[in-house]
């Protein structure tokens, strides 16, 4: 499904992402874990085709993101915690707008929008201007936008950031349903509990590099720690010993 190979991105003299490789299979949730500034957002933006890597390449369903960006983006649903909505549009109008941008037929847009509004319990605010919605309502509308075109790969960049516990849990459950539907999900967070609950595999990112990667049990086993937080802290306490992520 998703294969990212040796991605590098520099901003001036700063190397934000350094030789990061990742793979996500259908029906799998892979978590990208790291503190603020670790390079998670840059990595996900490169995978989603929003940023072009300096070197390395990304393929989604065999399609190269750099050489065929439009085709590749058709397969991606991207959502980040800081993604905002158009203030002067309603969620329903926004879904119709993005549906057209993704080349969906009008009847399919209507059907999918109806489905998502019901599934994500948006009926009470689907016709209100987005500028008037609460944070939780906005993020639900955003999720609907990312899920709308039924992408094979979901790239979710800290989707629960700045949400309360109830809204956050609602989002996490939505993501689990997408996994059950067979979608590949790449998910970044700095909340270790979320990662433990949701992810099939976890990649620990620090200073632009993947320092460890594998199922939760393997990470804990290798570190000898009882939980992911301790494992991560132990890992970043070992400077100069980065591991190349396994494909």
């Amino acid at each position: 499904m998703l294969v990212a190979e040796s991605l590098v991105k520099r901003f001036g003299d700063v190397t934000a992402v350094d030789r990061v490789s990742l793979a996500v299979r259908p029906g799998e949730v892979v978590g990208l874990l790291g503190p603020n500034g670790a390079g998670k957002t840059t990595t996900l933006r490169m995978i989603a085709g929003i940023l072009t890597p300096d070197t390395g390449r990304v393929r989604i369903n065999g399609v190269d993101v750099r050489s065929s960006p439009l085709e590749a983006k058709q397969c991606i649903g991207f959502l980040s915690g800081d993604t905002q909505l158009y203030q002067r549009m309603t969620p329903r109008e926004m879904l119709a707008f993005f549906g057209r941008l993704y080349g969906m037929a009008e009847d399919r847009i209507g059907r999918r929008a109806g489905q998502l509004i019901e599934e994500l319990e948006m009926a009470s605010f689907a016709s209100r201007l987005c500028g008037t919605l609460s944070s939780g309502e906005k993020q639900r509308a955003n999720i609907a936008r990312a899920f709308l075109h039924e992408p094979a790969l979901l790239v979710l960049d800290e989707p629960t950031a700045s949400l309360d516990v109830v809204s956050g849990q609602f989002i996490i459950e939505s993501i689990r349903r997408q996994r059950a539907a067979g979608r590949a999900i790449l998910f970044s967070t700095h909340i270790m509990g979320e990662a433990e609950y949701l992810c099939d595999r976890i990649a620990l990112l620090h200073q632009g590099r993947i320092i460890d990667e594998g199922p939760l049990s393997d990470l804990l086993g290798r570190s000898g720690c009882a939980n992911l937080t301790d494992a991560f802290l132990r890992d970043i306490g070992r400077p100069g010993a980065p591991h190349e992520a396994a494909p």
Partner: protein, 700 residues
Amino acid sequence: MRRHIVWTIFRKELREALRDRRTLFLMIGLPLLLYPLMILGFSKLVDVQTEAGKARASKVQLWGDVPDALAGRLAQDHRLEITAAGPLPELVRRELASGRLVPPPKPPPGEQSERDVKAEAETSLVAAIRPVILDRSADAVVFFWPGFSASLEQQRLGHLSIFYDSVRDESRLARQRLGEELTRFREEVVAGRVKTRGLEEGFAAAIEIHPQNVASSARRSGQILGMVLPFLLIVMSATGGFYAAIDLTAGEKERGTMQTLLCAPLRPAEIVVGKLLAAWTIGMIASLANVASMGATFARLGGPGGQIQVGLPVYSLAFAMLVPVSLMVTAVFIAVAVFARDFKDGQNYLTPLLFALMFPCAAVMVPGLELSVWTAFAPVAGIALLMKALFVGEARPDLVLAVLVSSLVWATLAVMFAARVFERENILLGGREPLRGILHFERRPGLTPSAGAALLFYAVLQVLLFYGTLFLKNAGTVVAVPVVEYGFLLVPVVALVAAMRYCWRESLNLRLPEWNAWLAAVLLGLSAWTVGGGLLVRLLPPPESLIRALEKILLLDDKSMPLWVLWLIIAVTPAVCEELLFRGLLLSALRPLGMWPALLVTSLLFGLAHASVYRLLPTFFLGLVFGYLVWRTGSVFTGIIAHALNNGLMATLVHLRPAGEYRDLGRSVFLPWDIILAGSVVMLAGLLLLRRRAGAPGRH
């Protein structure tokens, strides 16, 4: 580019913008309020003040040798209030007695109505009267020079001076009232003298001049509006697009929605065109509101007794002219605003641009600056001058075409620039990037300039050339041609190559060719004009006025000019400067496009630089010939030889003709067919010589 995607983005952006009260107010509310409030309110205020001024009698003091009859007559005029004047100051009296203070000489005809006392010597009389007017004891002072009464009685010339303050309205009005009353008095005196002496009526006046204004009221209105309206319309329509451009770019970044758009399967050009069309539409709606509000205001103002009468077609044409200029300005706004991180930042970026826009718009207010082959190609200024020409009904079809074509070219360049900026993902996500990188204007030590850099350089050069030539309007050809060629073509080319550290030899094609290349250059230089000037001019004969202007530019109307000077200015100078730009820098920059695209583009730019629809075809053709020559020989020197021979030969032939005969060249006498045929054979020989060469040398 997928049209349905552009349409989708356009509709969404427009819908969002129209839901924004701030945009709506700026777009429709402001113009609807502004013009009636500004123009009607202001004119009302002026009317009230004027009426108040007229109702009040002007305070006038009479100084010097005042004849009783005239004093009585002035006192009877209810518009004048004659106030008492004190005795003449001692100094004035002494100077009058000694003859040091005498009436000023009669001014030349053009200055009779307004005479500036400051321009004259500061006399004791002026020094004495000025405080009286400035402290408002009087609005005006009439000084009757010594012997005035006696002169009237003895039927001689009497002198009086009216002193007033041109800055103060009441003082000007007093001067006007005094002028009217005194003129009537003079006419009565003259009529009395003529009658007394038994002379025929009209003996003293000799001739009566009756000025008749042939300008229709629409034309007169057009002149008034043409000075102001283009400026207002362009600036107001730009203001409409100003906020939309910021909102759709920097505003979207600030709200964090740009990233959402970028992760959708869209091309940067689709996003930029969709947004541009929305901002442009908003600008055009603002323009329409402006034109409608302004038209309605002027219709109200220019009603019975008003002066402003402009028909709906003129307003419609003015609106149509806003279409290309608004597109260009909005594209530049979008491209610049996207660099901003937020709305406030965007305002900081665009405000200087808005002010910069006012400069070319103000071209309509520059006295004597009219739409011409030069001004037609200036961005924004061309449109403003075209609007002015439309208002007075003087727009020539060829210039309308030139303005529209050049505006569309500028607009396209602006859109291309905006699309280029939108390809920079880092900028769209809020990062910073140097402008030089976007324009491909990086230093390339040892290489040639990129096509984009060279084309941008050409565009900047054209703008500089336009504003530079404004200062050379009154300079003769002997000064103007070298200044333009060396100052605005050669020096910038050399400066660019030096500053960007391009390879001199490769960037300017500075190679010495073989002997047969020289021969080909001579053959083409001698013959190309016969085809360019002889055959193509038949297809599009230039108007008489252009021929005359060209003759003047090319010094062909001055038979006393030595031939060598003519060659230096008309042949050698343009050949060196223009070849180094077009067949040097531009051709080498466009070389990666392949031979024909490179030749076609450089020739088109060469033709456009000659700033005339009628000269476009021949100069385009010459550009192709010289371009092919330089492409095949790899040497700009062959182009210089051919160009110099071409210009020099034409100038020599016309110069050596008997005086008067050369003018026929411009009428209907075209080059004879036998000369065209002979020239074509020589040209063919030159081209064949080039074909036998191996081809252009490779680049390092």
